[in-house]
């Protein structure tokens, strides 16, 4: 199973995260959860996957993190 390559997190996705944290759609606590999760160097499935942090979700495919979804937005792939 691959590890997430955070260098490949697209700029547009990071900008989206920046905007949603700024307008508080994403909570401080959930950003901390994301940070701790990143530090654990999580292994992810080869195919599509989705990780729920509460106020947002991170979706990706294999090593590539693809997008952040807000609460209520459907997420494809294996829940991890």
């Amino acid at each position: 199973m691959p590890y997430i390559d955070w260098k490949r997190l697209p700029r547009a996705v990071r900008t989206h995260l920046e905007d949603r944290l700024k307008d508080r759609s994403i909570s401080e606590d959930d950003m901390i959860r994301l940070t701790y999760w990143v530090k654990t160097k999580p292994e992810v499935p080869d195919g599509e996957w989705c990780k729920d942090f509460g106020s947002f979700k991170l979706a990706g495919a294999g090593a590539i993190p693809k997008t952040f979804l807000l609460k209520g937005q459907p997420c494809k792939g294996e829940q991890i």
Binding site: W6, K7, L9, R11, R14, E18, L21, K22, R24, E28, M31, I32, L34, T35, Y36, V38, K39, T40, K41
Partner: protein, 133 residues
């Protein structure tokens, strides 16, 4: 023992670097939470912010800190004492507090330029990557 100059030089640095071997040894003893103390590089080494170590040291009493240092320096000591683990946990706590403060400052900042600069620091902290864009 560090000289005064060496000590000040160490404190003036932004991060303390732990080798991959040190990270592996500490992870074996205290668990995966050790990875939350700093940024882990591709080679397995880790950069731990000096201010978080200082904050952690402050929050532990002198006796506990001395005990922690002995534990960290002696692989033979079985960690019945909680001091080594406490130091790791305090560094993690200090780091989390620093990130929380950075997020609040970013959210309250009205100047778009300053706000984005603050975001770049948060981004680096969260993902451990300095995105050059």
């Amino acid at each position: 023992m560090l000289t005064f100059k060496q000590f000040v030089t160490e404190l003036a640095r932004e991060d303390v670097s732990l080798s991959a071997a040190e990270v592996a040894e500490m992870t074996a003893r205290f668990g995966k939470k050790v990875l939350q103390m700093g940024h882990t590089g591709e080679d397995g080494s880790m950069l731990v912010p000096v201010d978080c170590i200082v904050e952690a040291a402050r929050s532990l009493g002198t006796r506990t800190l001395t005990e922690a240092a002995e534990i960290l320096n002696n692989e033979q000591i079985v960690s019945m004492l909680q001091s080594g683990e406490s130091l790791v946990e305090k560094v993690i706590e200090a780091r989390e507090q620093k990130l929380r403060e950075a997020i609040r400052t970013f959210q309250d900042e009205r100047d778009a330029g300053k706000s984005h600069e603050q975001w770049k620091q948060i981004e680096k902290e969260v993902f451990g990557v300095d995105y050059n864009d």
